[in-house]
């Protein structure tokens, strides 16, 4: 941080409020919070909740960018609020809203039930034709085989990619970036034999084909996962499978 930067004493947060028992339309409340260079947006929200207005509701847990709870829009951008410095959004006012694309339950809390169902739909677990008994030890997997899928296993389900995805916002049936990346995480795992089962879900209209490859998902991902790449790769292999299926019976593919 530069020593010459003038540091403000306070900063204004304009926070989205929606209390369904009290108001039928969302409003914005403005809060003045102290500015500290080491504060993240989440620290400012906690200051509001502890010292100014106990009724503000939002989710948070780990404050270290791994639990995936605290995604919100800051000045319109989907971010993890525990990993975004106030400083990066000066001079303010900083507008804080719930992630786009999810029904708002209350204030900054969105309903992610739809994603939870989609997550199950892609069968995100290891599928084997035959499971080896534990007594027989581990499945071998070389470091390079691990590297084939590792980045897709880093998804924290924070929902920033859904919020950024223009397709999901228009077509909520679209299965969405994180779920597809997770399907790929298992498809590319050398221990897994379930790609065909997952293909049945993903090759449907609202599976991978909904994606128009805008790439916003990859850009906003705080964990370096590349859902857009996963989708692209999936489309290629799905197309290959389609042509192969015209030429030979499916079971031999």
């Amino acid at each position: 941080m530069s020593e010459t930067l003038t540091v403000p004493e306070t900063v204004i947060l304009e926070v989205f409020r929606y209390r369904p028992e009290v108001e039928s339309e969302p409003t914005f409340d403005s809060f003045e919070v102290p500015f500290h260079p080491e504060w993240m947006i989440l620290d400012a929200l906690n200051y509001i909740k502890d010292d100014l207005d106990g009724s503000l509701s939002y989710r948070w847990a780990c404050r270290m960018g791994v639990c995936g709870s605290c995604g919100m829009l800051a000045n319109g951008q989907p971010v993890l609020t525990c990993a975004t410095y106030l400083e990066s959004l000066l001079p303010g006012p900083i507008r804080i809203e719930p992630l786009e694309g999810f029904p708002v339950i209350r204030d900054l809390v969105g309903d992610i039930g739809d994603f939870m169902n989609k997550l199950s739909d892609v069968k995100p677990w290891l599928i084997r034709d035959e499971e080896k008994p534990v007594e027989d030890g581990e499945y071998l997997q070389t470091p390079s085989q691990l590297a084939d899928y590792k980045q897709y296993s880093m998804c924290i389900n924070c929902m920033l990619c859904y919020s950024a995805c223009p397709v999901y916002r228009l077509e909520p049936e679209f299965i969405g970036p994180a779920a597809i990346a997770l399907a790929q995480r298992y498809n590319l795992d050398s221990r897994d034999e379930g790609a065909e089962e997952r293909m049945d879900v993903l090759s449907q209209h609202d599976g991978i084909w909904g994606c128009t490859l805008v790439g916003e998902c990859t850009e906003v991902c705080p964990k370096g996962v590349d859902p857009a790449g996963a989708i692209q790769r999936y489309k290629v292999s799905a197309t290959m499978d389609y042509f192969k299926s015209l030429l030979m019976p499916r079971s031999s593919s």
């Binding site: 941080m1 209390r19 369904p20 028992e21 009290v22 080491e38 909740k49 502890d50 207005d53 106990g54 009724s55 509701s57 989710r59 948070w60 847990a61 780990c62 404050r63 270290m64 960018g65 791994v66 639990c67 995936g68 709870s69 990993a83 339950i105 209350r106 204030d107 809390v109 309903d111 992610i112 939870m116 997550l119 199950s120 069968k123 995100p124 677990w125 290891l126 499971e131 080896k132 534990v134 007594e135 030890g137 581990e138 071998l140 997997q141 070389t142 470091p143 085989q145 691990l146 899928y149 590792k150 296993s153 880093m154 924290i156 389900n157 997770l182 298992y186 795992d189 221990r191 897994d192």
Partner: protein, 584 residues
Amino acid sequence: MDSVIHDVLLVGGGGAGLRAAIAVSETNPGLSVAVVSKVYPMRSHTGAAEGGAAGAVRPEDSLEAHAYDTISGGAWLCDQDAVEAFVEEAPKELIQLEHWGCPWSRQPDGHIATRPFGGMKIERTWYAADKTGFHMLHALFQTTLRYPPITRYDEFFVTRLLVDNGRCQGVVAIELASGRVQTLFAKAVIVCSGGGGKIFPFTTNANIKTGDGMALAYHAGVPLKDMEFVQYHPTGLPFTGILITEAARAEGGWLLNKDGYRYLQDYDLGTPEPKPVKRSMELGPRDRLSQAFVKESQAGRAVSSPYGDVVHLDIRHLGEAEIDKKIPFVRELCLKYQKVDPVHDMIPVRPVVHYMMGGIDTDIQGATALDGLYAAGEVACVNINGANRLGSNSLTELLVFGARAGRAAAQFAAAQPAPSAALIAQAEDEERRLKTEFLDASGPERVAPLRKEMQAAMEAGAGIYRNAEGLNDAVETVNGVRERFQRIGLDDHSRTFNTELVSVLELSSLLDVAGAVLDSALARTESRGAHQRTDYPDRDDDEFLAHSLVYRSDDGAPRVEFKPVTVTKWPPGERVYGRKASDV
């Protein structure tokens, strides 16, 4: 009030709860399982664990060696029968998790890789880079989705255990999204809700670690065991308290004082070598390293920072490639949260509250003294961790004892009649209590100042070093806070996702847990492991080779008793680190 009936109900959806849920389903696929958690399971704090999970698999390793390291690391307060079961089942559970997709780091030939860890004489820590807990949690959670009998109650806050006829038969919970109070009946309940590090102000623990499960059991008359043992991890980032994993030292990191000197050599922890030496120096146990920090700071040899004294963790000599390969999350956390790049800069660190060795008193199957109630994971105390847990034993513990509790609860539940109708009245009482005492409360006291006062008192009185005077001061403050808590008021009286109500319920749990820690700490007039009394500096095996049990009296005050430690093969001895190899 809505009610449903399940066979087995889990309170908590972290590692232990999810492992238990799968164990129930595998033991008896006909049983319905409910996972009730105040957060979505993948938000659970298991996901923040970094370094690894211990299990003896290398040819030069043995179950006896893992047991000895654990027992000596725990200052002989571990129940040795439990440790023997633990080390034996550890490798199987870790392989099971591999079969469920956990992306363990590998050797070039494809076998599981292991790394050294503090207090462990042999490399036996399995790891998934430095996000081990995260990968374990997600592998477990995703695997539970395969099991149709497992029903989730995401974002439900459990406020009470339902007990009738000496048997736990379900819970009352608030659905956060709607604010509705629901009765969830069950033939067996397993509490897996984690620890309560938020009784302290400076902790690696997530905001959700408020000891709720401990408080639930405590109120149902079940004792909490060994609560005085709170682990400070030696390397947390100042201000945030974010954990810098022990793996940073296992891979070769050094702890330096303000003069750039590896000060641990002055604290009977061995002599410095360029490469890490197991059970020595930076790979000593956490209690000893945190205590050494305090002494170094008192001697004026720490580095001043705006957030108190720090020392430096130096990993620069590992080089960028090794750091990015083995401990990339350390670099990410330092860059993002401390604005330092450990490839080029030293990392400022100080001890930080990390883990509770104590918890709900259970036997080796996870059963508590109350029929139908089980516990596993950090919320429970079997006790395999003794007076000081070794790093990388807790991730394995939640698998081994999560599975054990799941199997035991499944067997118990299958033999039980339907829950008693009398419990409906209890549930209705609870709903009224929640409304009048909390939701409608409009007293003058606010939750945040009360919580901060309690936390400050715990840090002042029940930190790394303690004495009677400081502990009594903390008791007085906490009692005062508890009394003012009776006059709590909420800004928010609405039902929809009322997180202020959640904070108030959590503070109620925290106050119970804080009280239990303080009274247990006062009763143990000796020093052992993480419990260091400056007024009783020596270990006293004649009097205190025993577990403390704290009960909640009818008037709410804690009552402490002791019961002997189980010793099988390893008589109490000296804890030796960095000197001549100890005799196993």
